[in-house]
Symmetry: C2
Subunit: 232 residues, 2 copies
């Protein structure tokens, strides 16, 4: 059971034998944290799409729609990308179409994997438990920001890696693991220094970032099945 | 003065305004450690080329030639890529043509930068002193291995970053810095876990790796000028 980390979508082409591997898609701020929250709050499925037009079509058919572009809610949509928008009473028992800048793009890139898993700090233990149970080679796929490497996704890769033996990790994963070791007790303060924090914080969403740094508040995990994200 | 880190040649396209920036090329095992050693041992210049055929042409004209492919000395060449091959009595006062798998490729990719600097642990302090003096935005360009991210180059980027303020660092650089913080007191043991170590160690070059992990044994720095690497 080997673990590779893809630190940017621009490096995803390096993955061989994708069809045999379990891919954990990681977009901590905020797509995969929000998807994890949506499923936890009782939505029956999240339909991810990178195309706003596709989300608009679903919306026209009566689906609830969420999405942002460059951090802003798409006009006319029911929700943005903040996990706080998706209250249980609004979404329980419903299917939600979701389009985001980076995260849903990565889900589509990874769709031919043996399985696509949605990762977040909120359900770290559950993600690790799930992929351990799968017993296959693992790819930790960091969405980054517009193809650039970001700190929060890399640190989550390190967090997952901390549950496995060093001999199973490639160099990218070792890099993330060492970083996680020094930052895990003050994640939020670490992310204060990150590029993403500077960008999101300026839009007044500090609460979102604090939420997305919380560890193991959710005990379920989302996977991709037939184009929809559902609970495993 | 901003610092960006490019963790793989496949991400180098993300650098904007290259012509205004100082690029530190990093191929710790072993190209940039060896180049630093060659210049320290009195060679007047190193001519880097990614093409073996170009190196062969120089060799035919009487130059000393060094090079490896996938870790092995090229047949007929005077030296491989081990720093121990380049003894002072053999190279003092001479120009050496050098071709390597990853490092010289990166030097060529970066050649339109304001300045290209050769980085290694051997002369870390001198590299930092030099780029600080240049007072321009900095790119730490890790050669990696066949486009893949590697641990030793990333940790050197972190070592350089440790001399600068966090606010000046992009996320890739912060990732390297945090990893360097936990590994700096046992670099060699850390690299024992790396992919590159497993590959090189199997060729019996542990001594090279120990040498390339030594800090500040050389007090000079190489830069690219008119296609040749010379002392700054």
């Amino acid at each position: 059971m080997k673990i590779e980390t893809v630190l940017s979508p621009a490096l995803f082409y390096q993955i061989e034998h994708l069809e045999d591997k379990v891919v954990v898609v990681i977009d901590i701020l905020r797509a995969t944290s929000t998807i994890t929250t949506i499923l936890h709050h009782g939505a029956t499925a999240v339909i991810p799409t990178k195309e706003e037009a596709v989300a608009q079509e679903y919306k026209a058919k009566g689906y609830l729609a969420g999405g942002e572009r460059s951090g802003e809610t798409i006009p006319g949509f029911d929700f943005g990308n903040s996990p706080f928008h998706y209250k249980r009473e609004l979404i329980h028992g419903k299917e939600i179409v979701l389009t985001t800048t980076n995260g849903t793009k990565c889900i589509e890139m990874a769709q031919n994997a043996y399985q696509v898993v949605i990762g977040s700090f909120l359900n770290l233990n559950k993600v690790v438990e799930h992929i351990t149970f799968m017993n296959r080679d693992i790819v930790l796929f960091c969405a980054g920001w517009k193809e650039k490497i970001n700190l929060e996704d890399s640190l989550f890769a390190g967090a997952v890696a901390s549950y496995f033996a060093d001999d199973d990790l490639d160099d990218s994963t070792l890099l993330c693991l060492d970083s996680y070791k020094v930052t895990k007790d003050h994640l939020f303060d670490t992310l204060r220094k990150s590029n993403h924090f500077r960008r999101l914080a300026s839009k007044g969403v500090i609460e979102d970032i604090e939420y997305c740094c919380m560890l193991n508040t959710i005990n379920s995990v989302g996977i991709l099945k037939d184009g929809k994200l559902i609970l495993a």
